[in-house]
Symmetry: C2
Subunit: 457 residues, 2 copies
């Protein structure tokens, strides 16, 4: 793959910059395309300093510098803006595509945003302010206004000329949007259709009216589901009155998918999600704040487990060997529950499992856990009785507990995420750690009750 070649060159560029051989560095940098140059700038910020990165950035030809800027992560964009002159900032803001500009403005401190907005014409300023007010994670926050709009009464040939005249400034030209006089969305027509249609045909006759659209306040996760379902390259966004206010393109959806998946991963590990910041850019204190709440809550739940154990202290002091098998029972319970929870949560995220499937899922998990439980029980009985040399009664206590715990854990693990979804909580929030501590309680209660009964304590 080409990536490796680029990696090597980055090291050379960084060496040149450190040695102040700027012309050599520039020559190497310009061998790359804008996406890769942005990666090189990122590396320079990480490895040397923001100042050196700005030196490099200023050496880029005007026509590619803004493109490179648009590919940088937002934190680095803000860092650069803080270092360069107002005039340079003005140039960047002017040249960026509308949605990239909004993304940058959202991250800048209010006083800098005000300074930038002062210089923009009044009409545009109002539009920018509207965009800045769309809630994070809404369709409105993802969209761009750089799309091609057509009228029903244009001919295909007129439409193509229109695209030719404005096409280079649009985020995408591959889907064009047909609006009426009240700016309401009336249809869509793809560039493919325009190219293969007769030149004199009216747009009216080639456009599709059964288009799928989203509302500005729709959640970005729902929007990305629609992209996946229909395989679109772009989707129109309308306001309450059905007026076309922007479009969302698939490249932004790829970022949304990454964000949503990261959120799920973090929630499932008991970490409060840290918006769209990178691990290394998050401060130690923020990391602590993101992780402490769940660790603390779960710690409290273990106190309950501890309390249960305390109640059975007489059982324990009679047969101290029982403690030896506690981690295995609790651990296997936790793992069994996590397996089921993960599969169900992922299945729901991909729309493969609906809430109405709850009983099918439960019935499946009960059969699976019975088979697994019996196998692990048998193995444990054999090991504890023959290998560990414990009494048959202790072996039986542990292995019957194992069976009960695996079945209970898999039932809880599969049902809890579905219950969470039913009551409107993100299923990822009740995943592994929470299920583990629940199954821990179930495990110790089961174990000690069975021990009391079987061992006659």
């Amino acid at each position: 793959m080409d990536n490796e070649k680029i990696e090597v060159r980055t090291d050379e560029i960084i060496e040149y910059l450190k040695d102040k051989k700027y012309q050599d560095a520039k020559k190497l940098v310009l061998e790359n395309n804008a996406v890769d140059i942005a990666e090189i700038i990122e590396e320079i910020i990480d490895e040397i300093s923001i100042e050196k990165a700005v030196v490099m950035y200023r050496m880029l030809p005007k026509d590619i510098s803004v493109e490179v800027f648009s590919y940088l992560p937002v934190e680095d964009q803000v860092n650069i803006i803080n270092v360069i002159t107002d005039k340079e900032v003005g140039h960047i803001i002017e040249e960026l595509s509308f949605d990239d500009m909004i993304d940058v403005l959202e991250e800048l401190p209010a006083n800098i945003v005000d300074k930038i907005l002062e210089k923009t014409p009044k009409g545009e300023r109002k539009l920018i302010n509207t965009f800045l007010n769309y809630p994070e994670n809404s369709a409105g926050s993802l969209m761009t206004i750089d799309y091609i709009s057509l009228r029903k009464d244009m001919t295909v040939s007129e439409a193509l000329s229109h695209i030719k005249s404005v096409g280079m400034d649009s985020e995408t030209v591959y889907t064009c949007y047909v609006k009426d006089n009240e700016r309401k969305l009336r249809g869509i027509v793809s560039l493919r259709t325009l190219v293969v249609s007769e030149k004199e045909e009216l747009i009216l006759n080639v456009m599709r009216e059964d288009m799928i659209y989203v509302n500005v306040y729709d959640d970005q996760e729902d929007v990305s589901e629609l992209f996946k379902k229909y395989g679109f390259l772009a989707m129109p966004v309308v306001d309450k009155e059905g007026r076309l206010v922007g479009i969302i393109t698939i490249d932004d959806i790829l970022d949304v998918i990454d964000e949503e998946v990261t959120e799920d991963f973090e929630r499932m590990a008991g970490v409060i999600d840290s918006s769209d910041q990178e691990y290394l850019d998050i401060s130690v204190w923020k990391h602590v704040k993101n992780r402490m709440p769940w660790l603390f809550l779960l710690m409290c739940s273990y106190m309950i487990t501890g309390g249960i154990i305390q109640n059975f202290e007489n059982v324990l002091s009679n047969v101290i060997a029982l403690v030896t098998y506690m981690p295995m029972l609790m651990g296997t319970g936790g793992n069994s529950g996590s397996q089921s929870a993960t599969l169900v949560i992922r299945g729901m995220a991909l729309d493969e499992i609906e809430l109405s499937d709850a009983f099918r899922v439960l019935w499946k998990e009960i059969r699976i856990s019975t088979i697994i439980g019996i196998s692990l029980s048998a193995l444990n009985f054999a090991r504890i009785y023959w290998f560990d040399g414990q009494s048959a009664l202790i072996a039986m206590t542990v292995s019957v507990s194992m069976l009960v715990i695996v079945i209970a854990a898999k039932s809880i693990g599969s049902m809890l995420p579905m219950i969470a979804k039913r009551v409107g909580i993100d299923p990822a929030l009740v995943a592994s750690p929470m299920i583990s501590s629940l199954t821990d309680m179930v495990s110790v209660v089961t174990y000690f009750l069975l021990a009391t009964a079987i061992l006659n304590l």
Copy 2:
């Protein structure tokens, strides 16, 4: 969102089918687009039977039935093929786009594939066989041959006419590929460029030669990274000799991303990934086979933990109260480790964390875990000493253990995935369950060693 409307109609359709009111069902079905009709067919298979679904499928007009078929999940496609006549199968295979056809053929039993291939012309048969032999998860297995190819010496106007004549059969027309006489890829040109360029211009002058391409044997995960990085709608695939053999389009990449994320989720929960089958379609036995190995392996690791505890039985029998705090220490250790592991694994998957960042990550985790560890320790000391009424020495044993365990767990949790990646193992494989059982061992050893020392046992 439109989805809800569709959901309601599906129930009505299913009722009509159950009552054999086929014409009413058909009328409702035909109000939807092909994607949604495919979902309705899926629901009919799940809720009634494959036979009823085929009845419905046969009622669809010829021009949309194949499109609907292409949107069905592969299992359902195979189910339908098993029920319908050979002639109907022939029609579907003939009309499907090349990559959809390959996907279906891959899942069909060999004898059916042979029967289908017998009827296809020899040249096409050879091509199909080549495609069927590309490894699963390779770029080759994702690509299609339905792309537009141009020659350098064409004019823009000739290129547009060419697209007009063949465009409707291509997967995408938005990027066209320029080949030389030896079928080697020489450049790409977007439909946008063609539309905005002068008609007499030669393709040679408007094409880009610095295109990114992948090899047929590249892994699909690497390919999807390139799509994310560059924001492409399609990417060319070449063979060892640099000859263009197909293209990959972004809609297939969305599926790849889902698959790869599911694989990560499953591996992190200790489940062997079940290719691309849906949870409810996987048999109970297959589920058992996917989950048993890790549960068993981890169970063995808990035996080691149990063995460690057994060695400290004299400590335990002296101070039985120590058992009460064991689940909390082990659980908090496991959760702390999982948090770090998840963040690092996700960071590596998104290329935010490189292997060269190992020391920065470790240093960050040590500071984070020290702050968290001290806070949780202090809370525990207070609770155990004042609330539980234990001795100051026991309270100290538990709280010092807590500090050591949290720091150790976060260090292990962050470093193990990086070590795994360094030696070429998927980091997701060493996530939560494995890290929990490792931290369990560390936890009990720490706890009992500290108990022996502090309590003088």
